[in-house]
Structures are given as C-alpha cells and as structure tokens.
C-alpha cells in the first residue's frame, strides 16, 4: 500500500462579499514517499477565491511539508473596490519530493491590493518551484502588488525555481516583485553551535527564522505545529 501513490484532488472555492474577510490556513503533511521517492501522495489541489464585495479580503496561508508531488495555486480574483488578496506560503521539500506552488492575483477592481510572500526550502534531491501570476487589468486603477519569493537550498543536489508572471495593463498601478536564493551559511551554523545549539536545532532555528514572515500569519496553535513540522521534514538533511 505504501509503495503506491494516492491522489488527493480537492477543490476549495471562497467568495467574500462587502466587508467580509476570509482567512484560509492549511498545514499539509501528507505521506511524502520514502527516501527513494517510492510511494506518497499526489496532491493536486484547486483553490480559488473571489473578492466580489467592496473592501472584502481573502487570505491564503499554507505550510506544505508533505506529499510526493504538490501542485497548488490558490488564487484571488479581486473584483470589489478596495478588496485585498494575500498569499503566504512555506513549502519544504526533502528527499525526492516536488512542490510546484504559487498563486494568481487578478486585479479587476479599483484600489485592489495583493501581497505574496512565498518561502521555499529544498533539501535532498527535491525540487521546489514558486509559480505565480499577478495581472492588473485596465480598470484596476490604484492597484498595488508586492511579491517576495525567497528560496533556501540545503545541499547541492536539490533545485529551487522561481517563475513569476507579471502582466500590468494599468499605468496607475504599482507592482513590485523581489526574489532571492541563498543557502544556510557555514557562518550562521557555526555561530549557533558555538552558542551551544546542536546542528539540527541550528538548522531548525535558521529555517524558522527564514519562514517567520509566513508563520506569523498562522493561527497560534497552527504556528507551533508548523514550526515542529518544518524541523521534522528536514531531519537528516544536514551533515
């Protein structure tokens, strides 16, 4: 049973009317398969949100640590004037996992705002991709987007990829995208170990620091769980 793959194909749709606000948080820890990539869940999920009403808000927060393959792009269609879309994501892959995740922010209405913070951590032989779209349509005057994608690589056999699409058809809009790729530096690890932390604890601390901007968006009890999950997912990835 564990050598086989299972498919999880859920659909989630959110609609927010005037002044309504929805926060949808996910911590995903499906079986990722074994170290050789045998077995595991295919996690292909459709999630979309419509901010129909004025000043409505949809906020997606996700922590993806499990599944053999994850494909997931929660979207926000920002139709209502002054509506807000948010996407906060942490994706951790280890061994042979693949995570391809991101969001679509479609700005239709005036003064709509979106924020995207995506953190990916790759270890082992895994691949992690941020793939996302920010589109500003001609009527979305005053639209604002800010996107920050950061990748952390642990080991030299993994991959980290960033594929943003930015389409802007309105001069009175402002779109900003930033992305960085880095690894945990030897200096950081040594500094923590000199202060008495074990190597695994040091990695856990640094990774949690790297993900802080996303983890703080989770409800408290989820956040504690997510922090532990991150550390467990990366067990054995260093040294």
């Amino acid at each position: 049973m564990r050598d086989e793959n299972q498919l999880h194909a859920a659909v989630v749709e959110l609609v927010a009317m005037d002044d309504a606000s929805i926060k949808y948080s996910t911590v995903q820890n499906w079986y990722p398969g074994d170290e050789e990539g045998r077995g595991g869940i295919y996690n292909f999920v459709t999630k979309r949100g419509a901010c129909r009403g004025a000043r409505s808000k949809i906020s997606w927060t996700q922590v993806e640590t499990g599944s053999a393959i994850t494909w997931k792009y929660p979207s926000c269609i920002l139709q209502g004037e002054g509506s807000v879309g948010e996407f906060y994501s942490v994706a951790v892959t280890n061994n042979c996992q693949q995570a391809d995740t991101g969001t679509k922010m479609i700005h239709l209405g005036r003064n709509t705002r979106s924020t995207i913070i995506a953190k990916t951590i790759s270890a082992g032989r895994s691949d992690s991709t941020y793939r996302g779209l920010v589109r500003v349509q001609p009527k979305a005057s005053g639209a604002r987007n800010f996107t920050q994608c950061d990748s952390l690589l642990i080991g030299d056999r993994c991959g980290a990829h960033t594929v943003p699409y930015i389409e802007c058809r309105n001069m009175a809009a402002r779109v900003e995208h930033e992305a960085t790729t880095s690894k945990i530096s030897e200096d950081q690890l040594f500094y923590c170990r000199q202060r008495g932390l074990s190597e695994e604890d040091a990695v856990g601390l640094i990774v949690n620091g790297f993900c802080r901007d996303v983890l703080k968006e989770l409800p408290m009890e989820f956040a504690v769980e997510a922090q532990k999950l991150l550390q467990i997912s990366l067990e054995g990835s260093v040294g």
Partner: protein
C-alpha cells in the same frame, strides 16, 4: 500540410523552403516542418505573437536597392552621433553586404557568409524556430574575427532595411563574432531602416578566455518592420560578454540573447532599454546559463511604454549544479506613460546549485506625481518635466554602455523618440 494554427505563420515562407540543399539547411527545414513558427501557445512566445508578419508570402529581397535611400539612412545614423563616422563599418542593405558603403577595419579579420557560409556551433535551430528559419534562408552576414591578444577597437555593423511599396520580403543575415583569448572588441550593431520588411538576424558569438566583447545593439527598424534578432554567446574562462540592447523603432521587435558561461570566472551583462509608443510591441528575452563555477551575470532592463505599446521582458537565469559560487542579479523595471500601455514580465530563476547568490526583481509603475509636481512648481513645463523624469529613469541603465559613442547614439535616439512622442 502546413496549417497556420499549428505551424504559426510558416506558410508565408512555403515556396522559399522548397528545394533547399545542404545538410544544415535541410535539417533546419525539417525542424521547421516539425515545430512550425511559434504561436503564443509556445511558452517562450507566450507574450509575443508573429501576427505582425502579415498575410502575404514573404519573398527574398530584390538584388537591387535604392542607393540614395540607403545613403540617407546611413547619414541619418552618423549625424545623430558624428564620432561614429570615423569608425570602420560594415554596412548591409536588405541583408546583403554593400561594399560601397562600408569602411573595412584593419585590426580585425572580416569575411562574408555569402562567400564562405559557416553556421557556427552555438545556434540551436532545433529549439528555436526563428533560428531554423534563418539557417534555412541565410544569404549573407559578417564573420568578424579578432586574433589572440589583439584589441580590435570599435566597429560599426549597420543593417539597413529598405521597405518597397507593394512588396513583402524578409532577410536573414547570419553573423559571427569570434574573439580569441585576451582579444577585445567593441561592436556597435545598428539596425535601421524605413517601411515594411522582416529582419531576422542570428549572431553567433564566441568570447575566448580573458577576452572582452562589448556588444551594443540599436533596433531602429522601419516603422512597419518586424525585427527579431537572436544572439548566442559562449563565454570562456575570465571572458566578458557585455551586451546592451536598445529597442526604439519598428512595429514588432524582439531581441533574444542566449548567453552561456562555460568556464569559471566568466561574466555576462545582458542589459537593455525599450522606449516604445503607438502600437509597438517590444520583447527582450534572455536565457543566461551558468555552466561553470565562480561566474557573474548582471541584467538590468528598463522599459518606458507610451500609447498602446506593449513591452515584454522574459529573463531566465539557469544555474547548473556545477555552477557553485554563482553571483547572479537581474532587474526589470517598467514605466507606463499611458493608460493603454502594457508590460508583461517573466523574470525566472532555475537553480540547481546551493552555494549561490541569485536575486531578481521587477517593478511596474507610473511617473511619480510628487516628483512631477515638484518640477512643475519650480517652473518646468509639464512636457519637459515628464521628459526629465523619463531620462532620469533610463539614465543609470544607459550608463552601463562603456563605449562613449555608442552611449551617446542611444541617448540621441531616445531623445528623438521622446520628442516624437510628445508631439504626437
């Protein structure tokens, strides 16, 4: 059977692709028949359609051209920046070398594709359909070679396109630039013209170890013309390929660079500026491959878009597993001057090495109202204030052009475009 839906506008070339001889050319034709010319369903052409090529079959250009018109284009370019007049130049008209307009260089060796056709090694007709089209139809081109340790100085490569009323044609020059180790060259490619035509050059560049090539390309094509250029650059250890492209005139422009850092401590710069208006579409696409450790890549592209213009930026930085200690930076910024202008950007990082520093950024926005107001409150008329802020936005990027004459020519062409835009 070639269908426009599956093969794109390949049917415009049907008759010219028949009966082609030579192994390379036949392979290119076979690749074209398999893949066709790109439609927007092809990821690399997602934002740029070839509809601008029109409906009529594109023939080869006529053997004779209007000598007076060609001379006028040449004079126009030289008058914009007269320091260029003293430089050696290779002039092509509608894709063929025009010896009567050229001044051959002394320090570098130049041969012509028409005499000794060589396709080079870097180009990938299998992967890039427009390169396959060039390979199938190439007639002429400059092959520029600089010997080891030689400073070749500056050289102008001027491609003039002269549209002819009632005639639809295309030309596909095949250029090559080879710098042996520790050689240097500043190559200023000016693509200028008038009317309608399709210019599809492919340039195959090899930068030897310790060599340095500065390559400035100005796209000043005819108002109804389509200019789609592809550059392949292979850079050896400690070599530098420093490229700058300026997109200004033409109906549809695309400048595509594939740069490969093949040995350690090599560097590439793939910079550019697009200043478009009307219903122009300009596309700057690049793939920078880090295939060796300790290499540096830098990319800054700025777009100023007015009218109904659409700017496209696609920049991919690929870091292979072997390419540890890679230092990569990429920035794309756009200024939208009109409610109908559009920018589509896809900055892309694909990274398989862990000890790397790679970052990219993209911004889109309008002119800053506060800055505009500040200038106007000091008595600067609005049009001039806008022009000052646009120039300021582009200034730093233009400063990346090392060759003073080339930089001055780019600035002159931008000023001209700005003046035309404001009066329109």
């Amino acid at each position: 059977m070639i269908s426009p839906d599956r093969n794109g506008p390949l049917n415009l070339f049907t008759s010219r692709l028949e009966g082609i001889t030579g192994a390379e050319r036949q392979q290119a034709v076979a690749a074209l028949q398999r893949a066709g010319l790109p439609t927007r369903r092809v990821e690399a052409w997602k934002y740029t359609a070839l509809r601008a090529l029109g409906q009529s079959s594109l023939s080869a250009p006529a053997a004779l051209y209007d000598a007076k018109a060609a001379r006028a284009v040449l004079d126009d370019v030289l008058s914009a920046q007269d320091s260029l007049a003293s430089l050696p130049r290779l002039v092509f008209v509608n894709g063929r070398h025009a010896p009567e307009l050229s001044v051959l260089p002394k320090a570098v060796t130049v041969t012509f594709f028409a005499d000794t056709p060589r396709f080079g090694t870097a180009a990938a007709p299998d992967r890039d359909p427009l390169v396959a089209l060039n390979t199938a139809l190439a007639e002429d081109g400059a092959q520029i070679q600089v010997e080891a340790g030689v400073d070749g100085g500056a050289l102008v490569l001027l491609s003039i396109g002269l549209g002819v009323q009632g005639s639809a044609f295309s030309f596909h020059p095949r250029h090559a630039v080879i710098l042996a180790s520790d050689a240097r060259l500043e190559l200023i490619c000016v693509q200028a013209g008038q009317g309608a035509y399709f210019h599809n050059p492919v340039t195959d560049i090899s930068v030897g170890s310790g060599a340095a090539l500065e390559h400035v390309t100005l796209q000043l094509e005819g108002a109804e013309a389509v200019g789609l250029g592809t550059v392949y650059a292979d850079v050896a250890s400690e070599g530098v390929y420093d490229s700058f492209a300026l997109g200004v005139d033409g109906l549809l422009l695309r400048h595509e660079v594939h740069a490969r850092l093949g040995a350690s401590r090599a560097a590439v710069h793939v910079n550019g500026v697009q200043r478009l208006g009307g219903s122009q579409v300009g596309d700057m696409t690049s793939v920078i491959t880090h295939a060796a450790p300790d290499c540096i890549s830098r990319q800054t592209v700025r777009n100023v878009l007015d009218g109904h213009a659409r700017g496209v930026f696609q920049g991919k930085v690929l870091v292979e597993q072997i390419a540890q200690k890679t230092d990569g930076y990429q920035m794309n910024q756009a200024l939208l001057l009109s409610p109908d202008a559009e920018i589509d950007a896809k900055p892309e990082l694909e990274i398989y090495a862990d000890d790397v520093r790679c970052s990219h950024g993209a911004t889109v926005g309008a002119l800053d109202d506060e800055q505009l107001f500040y200038l106007r409150s000091r008595g600067v008329p609005e049009a001039q204030a806008r022009q000052i802020l646009i120039e300021a936005f582009l200034d730093e990027t233009l400063g990346l052009i090392s060759h003073a004459g080339a930089q001055a020519l780019c600035r002159a062409m931008l000023t001209r475009k700005g003046a035309a835009g404001e009066s329109a």
